[in-house]
């Protein structure tokens, strides 16, 4: 995976040398632009590794963003952020309760909640966009910098650092992969499989909400279409990064690289001056080559 990442990076660095691809601004742009995707990708590593999926991700982004922006019109920014995150966690927990208490597949539960949440997002503001003018909020979650590094990069990388620790170095992380690998074995081994599932879905809701808040900070406002295109990008980033779609194996660092790789592709192909149709084709081809080189499974005898 790392090889594919370097390959694409080196390729663009050479081809687009004169088009500003390697300029610091542009590289920071890529990190900034991918931050919300990276945050969601980290949580999705946990969800997929546990053998679950969260299709409601994109809708939660929109609803949390709108709730945050709306609450901020009349209340304190901290309260608005708490409300946005609370909505996300709440939806995640509800997803988790349906999956664990009624033993329903998360694919169907979150397919249903995806629709409900998308509908709610549309009703919250009656399809109107809300502007956010709170400078502190915008600074923390959007355009602000920490030294020379964009604040958004900190959120993204912070999520990766926490995620990596949680996934690789805690018992919870071990229980997540064991649950996705063989839920029966995990249960017999005394792992509270239902709690693991509930936790990863709640985590996913929280990450989607944070992504929504980051979008709100970055765009200085929220609208109901935010996040609508994110679900597949997030899943692609995670799977490219070496996480199994069906549970049992995952990589947080891989997800970061996957997210950056996809962001880099979009960015590089625009700088190259391709038309949008050419961009789509080139994106697909490069992706296919990169994953063929790195992700193919060796044939077993």
């Amino acid at each position: 995976m790392f090889a594919a990442f370097l390959l694409v990076f080196a390729f663009f660095a050479v081809v687009l040398h004169d088009d500003g691809f390697t300029s610091q601004t542009n590289l920071l742009n890529i990190v900034r632009q991918t931050a919300p995707i990276t945050v969601m990708a980290v949580a999705t590593v946990f969800v997929l590794s546990a053998g679950e999926i969260d299709l409601s991700l994109g809708s939660v982004v929109a609803l949390s963003a709108l709730v945050t922006a709306k609450v901020m019109q009349t209340q304190d920014a901290a309260l608005a952020v708490a409300a946005g995150l609370g909505i996300g966690v709440g939806i995640g927990v509800l997803n988790g309760l349906f999956v664990t208490l009624l033993r329903l597949p998360s694919f169907l539960v979150t397919l249903a909640s995806m629709g409900i949440v998308a509908g709610l997002a549309r009703t919250v503001t009656d399809l109107q966009s809300i502007a956010v003018e709170n400078a502190t909020f915008v600074n923390i979650f959007g355009s602000g910098d920490v030294g020379a590094i964009p604040g958004l990069a900190f959120w993204g990388l912070g999520a990766v650092a926490l995620g990596q620790f949680g996934f690789r170095h805690t018992r919870f992380g071990a229980h997540v992969v064991a649950t996705g690998d063989n839920a029966g074995a995990a249960r017999v081994a005394g792992i509270r499989v239902d709690r693991v599932k509930l936790a990863v879905l709640a985590l996913s809701g929280a990450a989607a909400a944070l992504a929504g808040i980051l979008y709100t900070g970055r765009l200085e406002g929220a609208t109901y279409t935010l996040g609508a295109q994110d679900l597949l990008v997030v899943i692609a980033a995670v799977v490219i990064g070496g996480t199994r779609l069906f549970g049992g194996e995952g990589s947080v660092i891989g997800a970061l690289l996957g997210s950056l790789l996809l962001g880099m592709l979009t960015n590089g192909l625009i700088l190259w001056g391709f038309s949008t149709a050419q961009q789509l084709i080139a994106q697909g081809v490069i992706l296919l080559v990169a994953i063929s080189l790195t992700l193919r499974e060796p044939r077993r005898e």
């Binding site: 088009d19 632009q33 549309r122 355009s143 765009l219 929220a222 979009t266 700088l271 001056g273 949008t276």
Partner: protein, 359 residues
């Protein structure tokens, strides 16, 4: 009856004088986002000396679109043709698929190439405003299509804003629908139920014109369309409630107009005439086959692109452009369908349409 009227008209293209649809009194006018008076795009003009001045600058340009469709393709074609004359090189082109976050990223990415001009249709007037301000602050000349980001002022932050002659389009839709129902009958009004500068003005113009100028045409059903993708369901419900409508106005053709058409087809309704805005292949095809679609009101999309590119030239040499420009509207019926396609999108109609017309 309507079809018969249309077919006996001469076939001399998009010039509307030949159509049996009469033009009623204007009861309003298109206004810019800051209340500006609309100036026709034909007012834009660069002298040979000015063209040479632009050419000598070897400028670069970026196109940041909201989506990809027939519409953006035709605008882009108009832009490219004028850019060729002005010696402006297109260095980046993006499409955001209606995702404002993607559009903001696109703007940032494009900014790294430091284009001399940016031509764009902002998806959202509110939440991408900061990105447009940033790129304008960098010295890039901004030419806008249809939407002005909040807080941006013409002349200071952008060269000008170009859009359709919105009032004229709505008015023409009213004139066409009145002709379709023989100036008398019950009609439905399917309007855009969301904050949209373009759709709201067109819808209002239709409503004002039909009520003021056609007292015998009654708007008996109103249906707001908040989610264009659900138009067919909405249309089904509205048509079930009002099965005896003589005609309907639909805010734009793709997808709501197509949804209404599908609803009519599925209920076997051949009586209700449809008038909608913008060209769409399914509706043009229906019109060619003599279906319920009576007229489509279109803009000169290619002309929008030409005007944007010309405005870019204005910006680059510091020539003051009118802040708000509109491209003329077209009424397209079966009789001038081929010419209408050329005038609007600068291309031939789709093969299916040509075939249905027997050409």
């Amino acid at each position: 009856m309507a079809v018969a009227v249309a077919s006996c008209s001469s076939n001399e293209g998009a010039s509307e004088g030949s159509l049996p649809i009469k033009s009623s009194r204007a009861v309003g006018a298109t206004r810019g986002p800051h209340g500006e008076r609309a100036i026709p795009t034909s007012a834009l003009d660069l002298s040979p000396a000015e063209v040479a001045k632009v050419r000598s600058g070897h400028y670069t340009a970026a196109l940041v679109w909201h989506e990809e469709s027939d519409f953006t393709t035709a605008v882009t074609a108009g832009v490219r043709d004028v850019f060729d004359q002005l010696g402006i090189r297109l260095v980046a082109q993006t499409s955001a698929n209606f995702d404002p976050a993607k559009q903001k990223s696109d703007l940032e990415t494009v900014e790294a190439k430091k284009p001399s001009v940016l031509l764009s249709l902002p998806i959202d007037p509110v939440i991408t405003a900061s990105a447009y301000k940033a790129i304008a602050g960098q010295g890039t000349k901004v030419v806008l299509l249809s939407i002005v980001p909040q807080g941006m002022r013409p002349g200071r932050d952008y060269v000008d804003m170009i859009t359709d002659d919105l009032f004229e389009m709505g008015k023409r839709a009213a004139d066409a629908l009145a002709a379709a129902v023989g100036d008398k009958g019950k009609v439905g009004y399917f309007f855009r139920d969301a904050n949209s500068f373009v759709a709201n003005q067109r819808d209002q113009a239709f409503l004002k014109t039909i009520t003021a100028n056609y007292p015998n045409v009654k708007v008996v059903a109103r249906q707001g369309i908040a989610d264009p993708n659900r138009s067919e369901e909405l249309a089904n419900a509205a048509l079930t409630k009002n099965p005896d409508l003589d005609g309907v106005y639909v805010t734009f053709s793709e997808p709501p107009g197509e949804g209404v058409l599908a609803a009519l087809h599925s209920t076997g309704n051949t009586k209700t005439k449809v008038v909608s805005l913008d060209l769409s292949e399914p509706m043009a095809l229906d019109m060619a086959k003599g279906g319920p679609t009576f007229a489509l009101i279109a803009d000169r999309t290619y002309e929008l692109g030409r005007a944007m590119a010309t405005s870019a030239g204005y910006g680059l040499i510091g020539k003051r452009a009118p802040p708000f420009l509109v491209a003329p509207a077209l009424t397209i019926t079966k009789s001038n369908l081929v010419q209408g396609y050329r005038a609007s999108l600068h291309r031939a109609p789709p093969a299916s349409v040509t075939k249905a017309l027997g050409q």
